[in-house]
Subunit: 235 residues, 2 copies
Amino acid sequence: MSGPYDPAAFPPFAVTVDIVVLSARSELQVLLIRRGEEPFAGQWALPGGFVRERESIADAALRELAEESGLDAPTRLHTHLEQLATFGDVERDPRMRVVSVAHFALVAALPDPTAGTDAADAAWTPVDQMSVMDLAFDHSQIIDLAVARVRAKLEYSTLATRLVGSEFTLSDLHRVYQVVWGMPLDLANFRRKVLGTDGFVVPTGGHRQQPGGGPPAALYRPGDGTWLNPPLTRE
Amino acid sequence: MSGPYDPAAFPPFAVTVDIVVLSARSELQVLLIRRGEEPFAGQWALPGGFVRERESIADAALRELAEESGLDAPTRLHTHLEQLATFGDVERDPRMRVVSVAHFALVAALPDPTAGTDAADAAWTPVDQMSVMDLAFDHSQIIDLAVARVRAKLEYSTLATRLVGSEFTLSDLHRVYQVVWGMPLDLANFRRKVLGTDGFVVPTGGHRQQPGGGPPAALYRPGDGTWLNPPLTRE
DNA sequence: GTAATAGTGTCTGTGAGACACTATAAA
DNA sequence: TTTATAGTGTCTCACAGACACTATTAC
């Protein structure tokens, strides 16, 4: 906090939050908004906006997630929202000096989003497609970081339960891991690992019948635990 | 980036960087600066300062580390500097709305720091002592997060090599792990683990004699690798 | 000599990975 | 019946942890 500056003459910055909302459908997808205004009008971008004068960064992220994502309240309750990193290169916004605190959110697979207030359109887009999309600002870079963070975090945390509904089968959870990591995982070993980790999942007692056959699968909900020890391993 | 605001009328924020400089001596220690000015004059705080108008956040962190830490250039080359998290509660600075992008740095054990430009004093302080220290702003919280992050990161990264000199013995590295984690580790198993991980350490061919006896120990320098796979485990 | 540190050998238990197998449902 | 999914059994290999042991130096 101390520095070579007179604190009364600090340089003024705008501060924003951007949110990488991720969902695991048949692929890992990110929620994008088509910008209605300059700069980058017409281009796809992350949902986000300015932090208000008397609002914490965490509150701003929660507000933007609610306003722009089109998620209803019960869904947001099951959602995970976490700060990712802050992006503050000098030229990242052509209008002025803007520092953006990026977040990521994990939500269950959902119907298509509705367009937000000042967004011309909104859509789920596969993260594999990011490399050919030319997003606004440095948003490609932010998404890359979010995807890497989430892939890593599924190894040692129980976060995957935020990418399925509030009740799920072990096959649902298995599918989420395979979609996020983009690789096959042995279901038998996965089951043993998940059930053998205290606090990962709790059986509800209920069962769900898959269309197309097979015995009814036991249903689970997220447990109290947040960390996997030892972790689930990729490759 | 899009939002309900007129972008020309964005609320002005001050943006700072704060740096948690950590070193593993006989204990894990953090570099603190005694503040010379209000607010919190006379209290201990993290080194840091305002981000300049045409300076990226990363550049500001590098500049503050150089200016305020009293580390010489060759030492800084061996140092690791990484963004930690951003703190933006409304009341965290009594003067005005300030968002601080916190970083952490890992440096080798060193002689005592010299006082920075506008700091009345600077000192290495054991992190165990933070709970009884009443630091300025939310700096206790920032240090807690940095320490937790570093402890976790030693499990799955090669970062510990930044807490020893540029040439070190396996006993040096072993000592760093024990100091950071605050627990004993079996040296024999630790050696095998480190030597069996490609890219963690590279033998220099040199040896160093400890005062007090024992055979000369082989010297190593950091390898190319950044990740430990599988990780080193605590507890 | 003694004390201290460097470095090796080896046993055991845990757990990940591979994969065969049974059971139960829809179509 | 066929097909798909739920769930179990079991073997093997890698590796972490415990700990005994030898070797080399200062003092």
